[in-house]
């Protein structure tokens, strides 16, 4: 296990380095520097600014400085468009918001989807099962950018129950629609995966033995079938996590929740490369970390898996 953890880390670290280097090189491949503008600065001023930010150094020196900043000081440098802010400040504004509703969506999707899948499997070929299967097929075609406007149309414009956007300090009515919009399609996938793995477990020999011993159905399902049927879910959870972080960009734009997605899209539209890179790298790090955790959890839970 320790050996596996170590080997798995050996993949995670170069992955992150590659991500940083690729985004760094991409940024430098872009035409024009951060200080070229419509009204060109006097050559001497431009040279001074470039010298101040180290932009006249050779590329590898800049890359090294950038890497050092991130690794040793967690510093992503200044924003090129918003001159008074650093990338860290911009990310610090949005991250907690994204974290709150993203985390909530993740929990909701896992709990609701998991429950739905298990109930559907236990009550296979009943109306509950058909409902669960129907919902999970339907939700496949309802990604976050489709759910968001439909929810606003229903709950804000037609019924007038919920505010159509804004963050409002994370007050719960403002949270409902973002969480539903973000979690629906993942909830559906989780329900589908849980249902099929639960069905497989329920058809296995040891469950037949448990039933033959005369155990009550409750005990059979909760004590014997539940845990192994959740194993396939683990590897999907890291996929869902990435999807939700990506989807938060849509939520931030459509519901004006003010999370990191707004900063990302605005920086993309304004060509604020350092902010884009910062967010890409931060999210990449989270993604890699989460995939690592999922893999380790998987190896720990399922003793059959040997690496």
């Amino acid at each position: 296990m320790l050996n596996y953890t170590f080997r798995r880390m050996l993949v995670a670290i170069p992955t992150l380095l590659i991500l940083i280097i690729v985004s760094f090189l991409l940024m430098h491949a872009a035409p024009g520097g951060p200080f070229t503008s419509e009204r060109p600065l006097p050559a001497q001023v431009l040279a001074n600014i470039n010298a101040k930010y180290g932009l006249d150094d050779p590329l590898y020196v800049q890359l090294w400085e950038y890497l050092q900043g991130i690794i040793f000081h967690f510093d992503f440098g200044p924003s090129f468009q918003r001159k008074d802010q650093t990338v860290n400040q911009i990310m610090a504004q949005g991250f907690p918001i994204t974290f709150i509703y993203g985390g909530l969506s993740f929990i909701v999707a896992t709990l609701v989807g998991g429950t739905l899948g298990i109930v559907a499997a236990v009550r296979q070929n009943t109306i509950i099962d058909y409902f669960a299967v129907g919902v999970s097929i339907g939700a496949q075609v309802l990604p976050n950018f489709v759910m968001a406007p439909l929810l606003v149309w229903l709950f804000t414009l037609t019924l007038g129950w919920l505010p159509g956007g804004g963050w409002n300090g994370g007050h719960w009515p403002n949270l409902i629609m973002p969480v539903i919009a973000l979690s629906t399609s993942y909830m559906a996938s989780i329900a589908r995966i849980t249902r099929s793995s639960m069905l497989e477990v329920l058809n296995s020999n040891y469950i037949r033995t448990a039933r033959a011993k005369g155990l009550p159905e409750r005990t059979v399902i909760l004590r014997h079938a539940l845990k192994p049927s959740l194993v396939p879910l683990i590897s999907y959870l890291s996929v869902a996590f990435v999807g939700m972080i990506t989807g938060s960009v849509v939520i931030d734009i459509y519901f004006s929740t003010g999370g990191m997605g707004v900063a990302f899209v605005n920086s993309a539209l304004n060509r604020d490369y350092s902010v884009m890179m910062g967010i890409t790298i931060l999210i990449g790090a989270l993604t890699i970390l989460f995939a690592l955790l999922a893999d380790l959890l998987y190896a720990w839970v399922d003793p059959k898996i040997r690496y």
Binding site: T15, A29, F145, F264, A268, M276, T287, I288
Partner: protein
């Protein structure tokens, strides 16, 4: 002696029969065919082109831009007074093209990569699959957007970005399948009779991969369409006057507060029907071609 030959049933005719017994898959195939036909033939019945602005409607889309046959705007207009019917058909063509080409790239690259890794095996395989592992744990949506911003937004760049991310899954699936095929007796027989490696891959491995590749390719098309729609929804995808489902849904979503719900519904119907069709066809193909269920 009975000399009438028993007519053999090939794998593919069996699969075809199973596929056409699946009602959802056939319905999906019909719906998809209709959507494709409409998107190519529909423009001949359009009164307005996708770039023309109906100046009478511009600015008062909520009252005058309703879907109506009298004005020639079958699906209504958008806020600028552009005909939604023409725009939806045009967006449909772009989205379908992105989906099909994206899936095509992934089939080509993924199959070649996966077959080579699986067949050659050993250290080559390990290195190649490690690379896939590394690429897979990169948040690709953000990298695609980075690419689009740095190199300018164009359909070509979009294809490149989507192509970059799409072949990874395919290569894993193909490699797994190749590993099992490689040890089958008929491959061993071919090797024993001195057939060269490229010929074995071309004649014996790849034809046996076609089934599984077809299944995943069908499921990749909607995945590509979703990716493109996501990017276009954020306004970072295709550029005006071209449009796509994502861009149209985004426009409709943005103006839904002004009682112009048809701007959302029209592209959404095409989007939903197409995705459903692809999922059903993919499931049908899986049932028809997957050797596990035989």
């Amino acid at each position: 002696m009975n000399t009438t030959e028993v007519k053999g049933r090939s794998l593919w005719s069996d699969a075809r029969r199973r596929f056409f017994q699946n009602k959802a898959a056939v319905a999906g195939l019909i719906a998809l065919t209709l959507i494709v036909l409409i998107s190519f033939i529909g423009p001949f019945f359009a009164v307005w082109s996708n770039e023309e602005i109906d100046w009478d409607v511009m600015g008062s889309a909520a009252t005058l831009g309703m879907p109506s046959f009298a004005s020639g705007h079958y699906f209504g207009t958008d806020d600028l007074g552009r005909d939604l019917y023409s725009r939806v058909l045009q967006g449909t063509r772009v989205s379908l093209m992105v989906g099909v080409i994206g899936a095509g790239i992934s089939v080509l690259v993924g199959t070649v990569y996966g077959t080579v890794a699986g067949y050659v095996g050993g250290r080559t395989d390990q290195v190649m699959m490690r690379i896939v592992d590394i690429l897979m744990s990169i948040p690709f949506m953000f990298v695609i957007i980075l690419l689009l911003v740095v190199f300018g937004r164009s359909i070509g760049m979009l294809f490149l970005g989507i192509g970059l991310l799409s072949w990874l899954d395919m290569s894993r699936i193909v490699r797994g399948q190749t590993l099992t095929l490689k040890n089958k007796e008929f491959v061993e027989a071919a090797r024993a009779t001195g057939v060269s490696t490229p010929t074995i891959i071309r004649r014996h491995i790849v034809p046996n991969l076609l089934g599984i590749v077809a299944i995943y390719a069908t499921l990749l098309v909607p995945a590509m369409i979703l990716t493109e729609s996501f990017i276009s929804f954020l306004g970072l995808g295709v550029q005006e006057p071209l449009t796509s489902w994502g861009a149209l849904i985004s426009e409709g979503a943005g103006t839904i507060r002004y009682d112009t719900e048809w701007q959302l519904i029209a592209p959404l119907i095409f989007f939903v029907i197409t995705l459903f069709s692809f999922f059903f066809i993919g499931d049908g193909l899986r049932d028809a071609l997957d050797p596990k269920d035989r």
